[in-house]
């Protein structure tokens, strides 16, 4: 019981780190980026390949995965994404689906379609159990690690958004691009760095999650809907919204798969549709936010 809850929280935290970049892209640039999962996949593959072929330790791979995905995001933002910000959503959807297809086929071609497995270092492999009977709580060390890392990231993100100069610039740009630009904020640079940072986080999430979620070329498509659920249900105006949505989704998904495996994903999708029909702007949205 508690174990399932714990696993759900770990899963939710992971989803949050993966999807928070997407929330910012969508809220900031109003860009529907279905290719977000491709950045996560890039991070995951960098980690696995570095560990298997170059013998880099796991902990060193995480920052590398972050940096690689961030760089990739920055380059793509500057070259491909920027001309599309003011295009209709249909164009953006087509474009990002195209990117996803290319990423999938590209990885398939260069690395192969088999699922790759991350070799965790020994100190992350164990499992601790507390309590007994109905209330027994089994914590995998790796999941504990995920929760710690993601929790720290969340706190850092929240702090950066609300207390730093960059955070206030970002919030200003989200609220009203034109006024922000008029106040002398270089919105393009804000966009670029945010996009890169969001992609980097996705890469980090991919690296962390490759053990839990599994890593194969179809990763971007398989989890695209999950990222989108987090963003659509959580709303794009704060980071607490996506965080709560991700936790909810994680717990619901793990519980559903554990208790009623026949209907697993079915429940998640149905709940999503009901929520979106009921509150199209997301569950946790300020009442008087921008439209």
């Amino acid at each position: 019981m508690l174990t399932i809850l714990f696993d759900g929280i770990a899963y939710g935290m992971l989803l949050f780190v993966l999807a928070v970049g997407l929330a910012v892209t969508l809220g900031l640039m109003n860009f529907i980026n279905l290719a977000h999962g491709a950045f996560a996949m890039a991070g995951g593959y960098v980690t696995v390949l570095l560990m298997q072929r170059a013998g880099v330790p796991f902990m060193a791979c995480l920052p590398i995965a972050f940096a690689f995905s961030a760089l990739l995001g920055a380059v793509l933002e500057r070259t491909l994404y920027r001309p599309l910000y003011h295009r209709p959503h249909l164009d953006q959807v087509l474009f990002s689906i195209g990117l996803v297809f290319m990423a999938i086929a590209g990885v398939d071609y260069f690395i192969g379609s088999t699922q790759l497995i991350v070799q965790l270092p020994g100190w992350l492999k164990g499992r601790t159990e507390i309590g007994s009977g109905e209330w027994r709580l089994g914590m995998g060390h790796y999941r504990l690690f995920i929760i710690a890392v993601c929790g720290a990231l969340t706190v850092a993100l929240q702090y950066a958004l609300s207390h730093t100069r960059f955070g206030s610039r970002l919030r200003a740009s989200v609220d009203d691009q034109r006024v922000a630009a008029g106040l002398g904020i270089n919105v393009n640079v804000v966009f670029l760095s945010t996009f890169a940072f969001g992609s980097g986080l996705a890469g980090l999430g991919g690296a962390l999650g490759s053990e839990v979620l599994g890593l194969d070329p179809s990763f971007p498509l398989k989890y695209m809907i999950y990222f989108l659920i987090v963003v659509a249900v959580g709303g794009t105006s704060s980071i607490t919204g996506p965080l709560l949505a991700a936790l909810l989704l994680g717990i619901a998904d793990v519980t559903g798969k554990y208790y009623i495996p026949k209907l697993g994903a079915f429940i998640v999708y149905s709940v999503m549709i009901v929520i979106l029909v009921w509150r199209p702007q997301g569950l946790f949205v300020r009442q008087h936010g921008k439209a």
Binding site: L26, I32, L80, P83, L84, H86, R87, H89, L90, D91, Q92, V93, L94, F95, I97, G98, L99, V100, F101, M102, A103, I104, A105, G106, D108, Y109, L221, I225, L228, I229, V231, A232, K262, L263, A265, F266, Y269, S270, M272, I273, L276, V277, P280, Q281
Partner: protein, 328 residues
């Protein structure tokens, strides 16, 4: 009141715009002559006709009503599976099966249409995608009924009209598909040129203004979504009947994405867009997958990216490439 009303003067001009053009007759003649000219590719032509019908149904939703959908395969697959199950368990007549598939998809479309009325593009994307994923999941998990991941086998389709057997060469299949496509094209053509179609375009262009001049937005969207679902269901039923096989890939995300691409290649908001797009897409798929079977999605993706970067209006009009782009 003997003064001539202004609408009387405008009527001939408006009607002329909707008349059948000579090239349309030529296109249909060519379509029906194609299987005779090249009998070995009858199966491919039949598949093109089915995909064209599917794309046309998406065009009603996307091109005319402006609803971005990533889950149109839900109706395609549902129609297909229902037709397959009907043929297997009730009776093998293809036309009745087609009607059953359509009816089932219509009901599903009417149910789902309430979900696309509210929210932004993103919400609609998610909801339509969610519906198709649910259908996929259902077809996968209800394996006692649908055969699960193995697909539904052992479907026998009776002769068409009691006379024409579905043979291996695919002659019956290709004409069956083409005739159904023609019937639906005529109906859809009539629909979009009617006042109903005009109100749809008004909703697409500016929903608020359409509402202000008294267009019942919600009921129009429900109606068009249901009609499009019925057409998609017919396309799915056709595919199942002509191939005698139903599998999970009827519901796959890839199918929804493909049909979106087909429509965009041919041109959105134009009924023949789906037909042209289907021809281009299927021929491209056929050649590319003959060269690189496994990685053809890469070229598909590259094509999509280029299409959007160049501008989808400009790619199909090469004479605008040299002109400088005006206001975006």
């Amino acid at each position: 009141m003997n003064a001539e009303r202004p609408t009387d003067a405008a009527r001939p001009a408006l009607l002329r715009a909707n008349r059948w053009k000579p090239w349309e007759f030529a296109l249909w003649l060519a379509a029906f002559a194609a299987p005779l000219a090249d009998p070995s590719h009858a199966a491919l032509i039949s598949e093109i006709a089915i995909v064209a019908l599917f794309a046309m149904s998406l065009d009603l939703v996307l091109g005319y009503a402006g609803i971005v959908s990533l889950g149109h395969a839900a109706f395609f697959g549902f129609g297909g599976y229902c037709a397959a199950l009907f043929a297997k368990h009730v009776m093998p007549d293809p036309l009745v099966g087609l009607a059953v598939g359509m009816a089932a998809a219509t009901v599903l479309g009417a149910l789902c249409s309430v979900t696309i009325l509210r929210g932004s593009d993103l919400t609609r994307l998610m909801v339509t995608l969610g519906v198709s994923l649910i259908m996929l999941e259902l077809a996968n998990k209800l394996d006692w009924l649908t055969g699960g991941a193995d697909g539904l086998q052992g479907i026998t389709i009776g002769p068409l009209l009691g006379r024409f057997e579905f043979d291996l060469g695919g002659r019956t299949a290709v004409y069956y598909s083409l005739v159904v496509l023609l019937v639906f094209a005529i109906l859809a053509r009539r629909l979009v040129h009617s006042p109903f179609g005009a109100t749809l375009m008004a909703i697409r262009d500016n929903r608020l203004r359409a509402m202000a001049i008294g267009v019942p937005v919600a009921s129009r969207l429900v109606a068009v979504y249901t009609i499009a679902a019925a057409m998609a269901g017919a396309a799915g039923a056709l595919l199942v009947q002509t191939t005698s096989f139903a599998s999970l890939d009827l519901f796959e995300f890839q199918r929804s994405a493909d049909v979106l691409l087909i429509l965009v290649v041919g041109g959105v908001g134009w009924l023949y867009g789906g037909v042209i797009g289907a021809v281009v897409f299927k021929l491209m798929q056929d050649t590319l997958s003959a060269i690189t079977a496994q990685y053809w999605t890469f070229w598909l993706g590259l094509f999509l990216v280029l299409l959007v970067l160049v501008g989808r209006d400009r790619l199909i009009r090469p004479w605008t490439w040299l002109r400088r782009r005006g206001r975006v």
